[in-house]
Symmetry: C2
Subunit: 460 residues, 2 copies
């Protein structure tokens, strides 16, 4: 009985399910854990590896038996190829197997029709389901697994008409209002969903009244059987007989790490003479910096904590599908914050450890780890390849010079634009799987195949 | 006898080796073909795939049974980690299994001692060896497999003291002069080497007199048993009883493709108002362009042609080691020429086809395909993710907007610096192998392991 004792000690769900027959069924059940590093391309992984494990080190990711790449696919509203995705269309591909246009949440390009997601298929077949993210649970990646709407910005009932960002209109979802016969905003769709565990940020999107209602979206969720928590402690002690909605910050969860004194990548400052011609004068490069804990992170549940709670609650004799996202690898890269991205990649790596530990106990658990799209950050030389020329050579973007624990300096460049946020890139992204995936997951695929592999493995 | 007939038809070396016993030995012999895409990171592969095969397409590379990544390692002269390599130190790692400092050709960091290369080990064991490159054969990547010197720029006897580039001193190799007890310049070391086939560019480095000699380096090579050719036709008809040195252009071979009318990536041009603040005014983006044949390429042997000649000459009953480099994926990226890089990646892909065809006939042939380091090019959105904001959003680097055969536009950004050449990046690089490599080549390794795997597979 030592295996079962170990199971029981690790996962309290087992202890609750007392009979040996049920435990045996749980050991047989097929589960899929899909872990998404938002923006986690090979640059991000290499930067994080160098910092966390050293240039010769290995992340848990690096030790997974299957490694390959996933080609990201996007189309315009008219079906023409688009070479760079956003998180909404790429999450739609992962969640539904359909290629769509940027900004769309599980709706089709052109036609704007809902596309059924793996969560909906799994639920219908009696499997348990879960969504865990360090973003708002209404953000593009988790949203595409549970909601259907034309624009990712329509996260709550008050953000459905003429949605603005920094005062500029970025879209409109009026025709998806419930009054127009639609499914309503993303938070409302989550509130009425059958997802068993939803953990992340985004409280603000649930505190507002539901469309044409005096109830808040939280109250709608509670009426639909969700137990709602807002702290890590309450998450851990939540009753097991209800669905769980954990909302641990107003929007995106605070990230674990930041640059020294909150510093981001900065523009090198050329001297006056260098402005005349680039081959004279000098340049002041940003000072090197360490990464340090982000004080705002205190009290935030880690991605691993949320993962462990989700696995504990989802483990059952019929199987489950769980999506786990480390969202701010991407968000911190948009904001040119390499330490933030490194810390969130460390969080993802810990969630991978939890998933691998679970799969060791429950061997029919397929783990797939991937990214949704590439990001701007580039690991560039701390000393230019052309330093011998003796002229100022520097990026016109923004540079962070990070002191690594192994005693060197790593240059991280952000130079896709000069806007308040960097662009994504269209590079094919990393793909990993545990031993269960060997033979099932090809070493190169297009993103929609991840949906197909998941569906097939779960027998759906 | 149909297999042997097919072999004979494909590889004239077989026809020359008439006896069944020798043919059988040749079928058993262990060979390694190492194909290096210089600067061929996942961005370069994705950009090339989108152009050559479409976003949903596959290159031959993409269909190889093993896919993983190689972590590039570099150190300073004092042994501290350096996170971005150059081609000299990374080729040294591949050729010798030792991590060294930038610019070094198979010599140790700090101590400046020669490090034995796989070519030297293979030769000593009676295997045949070959080097094929679209660069000068004296360029860093091929050089590190056959020569030993402290600085990659010391390519010929006249470039050993106070080497300059654009009038600026970039290094010195005086202490490696033969007069100082050294091995001399890179071209001289190739001329006296035992490599059976050396094909590429670099004639200029062989036409000068050898150190303290009235003979040119070509004459030294001829005296050492090389048959020297300078055209594709002479390469094909070269006698089989001598070593072959093919030098098909003064330096780097002309590349296959160029941008429309020779265009490179270009700087977006913001309006006058946008110079005041980035949130007003407008920007003129570079015009879209197609890729077109480079007229200078006419008459140049393709990488595939050189590969086929090398395979034909090296095939023998004891086994061989062949390094094939597509060098200008990198060189064209340094110069912000995405069409050039795409064409050279197509050349690499064709060389992979030749290697796979050879391995189909001679099953003990291990093929490893990898890159030496990352490059600057990034696939960025043709329409900014932030286009809805209605303000000019554009790179401060250089952008090419390439019209792809599938009817879309692909944005390629170069923004690591503003110098005449872009930087490399430190990303981990792709790694591929054929079926022989499955089980031998891990899906993540550090670059020196490629040397070890090669040595072990060849039983050296």
């Amino acid at each position: 009985m030592s295996v079962l004792k170990s199971l029981a000690a690790s996962f309290s769900a087992i202890a609750l399910l007392a009979t040996p027959a049920l435990v045996a069924a749980q050991l047989e059940a097929r589960n899929v854990i899909l872990i998404i590093g938002d923006g986690m391309d090979d640059q991000q992984i290499t930067i994080a590896r160098n910092y966390l494990a050293g240039a010769r080190g290995r992340l848990s990711l690096d030790q997974m038996p299957l490694r390959g790449v996933s080609q990201v696919l996007t189309v315009s509203e008219h079906g023409t190829p688009v070479y760079v995705a956003d998180s909404a269309n790429s999450a739609t591909a992962l969640a539904t197997g359909q290629v769509t246009s940027r900004g769309r949440i599980a709706t089709s390009a052109g036609e704007d029709k809902p596309i059924t997601s793996i969560i909906e298929i799994a639920e219908a077949a009696g499997l348990k389901t879960g969504l865990v993210s360090t973003a708002s649970v209404t953000d593009a990646t988790p949203a595409a697994f549970v909601a259907h709407i034309n624009a990712r910005f329509c996260e709550n009932p008050e953000a459905m008409k003429d949605v603005t960002f920094s005062g500029i209109r970025v879209g409109d979802c009026s025709h998806h209002l419930k009054a127009a016969g639609g499914l309503g905003s993303i938070s409302e769709q989550i509130a009425v969903s059958g997802v068993d565990v939803v953990l992340g940020g985004g409280l603000t999107h649930f505190e507002v009244p539901a469309e044409n209602s005096s109830d808040t979206v939280i109250q709608v969720a509670e009426a639909n059987g969700f137990h709602v928590v807002t702290t890590a402690g309450d998450m851990a002690s939540a009753p097991k007989d209800k669905k769980l909605l954990g909302l641990f910050s107003p929007n995106t969860l605070p990230v674990r790490w930041q640059g020294e004194n909150g510093r981001t990548a900065e523009k090198p400052e050329p001297s006056w003479a260098n402005h005349i011609t680039q081959y004279i004068g000098s340049v002041k490069m940003p000072d090197p910096m360490v990464c340090e804990p982000n004080p705002d992170y205190a009290g935030t549940p880690s991605l691993k904590q949320m993962t462990d709670v989700a696995l504990d609650r989802l483990s059952n004799d019929r199987g489950f599908f769980l999506m786990i996202e480390s969202a701010s690898i991407d968000k911190q890269s948009h904001e040119r914050k390499p330490c933030g991205s490194i810390g969130e990649l460390a969080q993802l790596n810990e969630a991978v450890d939890s998933a691998l530990a679970y799969a060791k106990l429950f061997p029919n658990t397929l783990i797939i780890v991937t990214a949704d799209h590439g990001q701007a950050a580039q690991l560039i030389p701390e000393e230019s390849l052309f330093a011998a020329f003796g002229v100022p050579v520097f990026t016109r973007g923004r540079l962070a010079r990070i002191k690594t624990p192994e005693g060197a300096i790593m240059g991280v460049n952000y130079a896709t634009n000069d806007f308040i946020m960097e662009e994504h890139t269209g590079v094919n992204v990393p793909l990993f799987s545990n031993a269960v995936g060997v033979g099932l997951v090809p070493n190169m695929l297009v993103q929609p195949q991840i949906f197909e592999i998941t569906r097939d493995y779960l027998g759906l």
